[in-house]
Amino acid sequence: MRVSVQLDDFDIGQELDLFRNGKSNTGAIVSFQGIVRNNSENSLLNMDIEQYPGMTQKAISKYVTTAVERWSLNDALVIHRHGKLFPGDQIMMVATAAIHRHDAFQSAEFLMDYLKSRAPFWKKEITKKGYHWVESVFDDEKALERW
């Protein structure tokens, strides 16, 4: 299990290669990659992600531990960036490794749902007209109910 909160970009291929090695009964790896997407007017200059330094790592680790136990995962990985990001940049990734695909899918979705609404990150979008804080979506909060 690894949780990294970082300013720097990451190489998803390298991360998945490291992640795959050494568990001879892993049959399924699911990864999720979050990317800064432009807004509908294509006016996004950049995004700024603020975090709560003391709490972030701890909160994510708690959800990762829960996922590993609940779905008997062989391994789980979360990388989340903060700071200034541009359209097309990677924001974060999650990877889960399991014997069977269903556990890998379910746990990756669980982690994403919790990261979205419970990990202390806040996104600010900077456009030509100014900036605004991204508002949380009702659906994201709602998504937690199924777990």
């Binding site: 709560y52 709490m55 202390p120 990150f121 806040w122």
Partner: protein
């Protein structure tokens, strides 16, 4: 002394990322009321608590949570990571 932290637009409205406070408040809610009495900027930031979340010692909790012995209280809007 308790460290009070603010994030995102809460930080912007209050004007500082954190401050050290001497308080007798027993719960988060009492602390919020105490701050709102102090200055207009707190009143603005805490005007709609349903738009805010709180963590005591880096654990999410409700506004009626007790503060006894807590080192850190943080106020922020709903998270939008991922």
């Amino acid at each position: 002394m308790i460290k009070v932290l603010y994030f995102a637009w809460v930080r912007e409205r209050i004007g500082v990322p954190y401050e050290m406070l001497e308080t007798q408040s027993g719960t988060v809610m009492e602390l919020v009321e105490e701050l709102k009495q102090k200055e207009e900027r707190y009143k603005v930031a805490f005007s709609d608590l349903s738009a805010l979340k709180v963590a005591v010692d880096q654990e999410l909790c409700e506004f009626d949570a007790e503060l006894n012995g807590a080192l850190e209280v943080a106020f922020f809007p709903p998270m939008t990571g991922g």
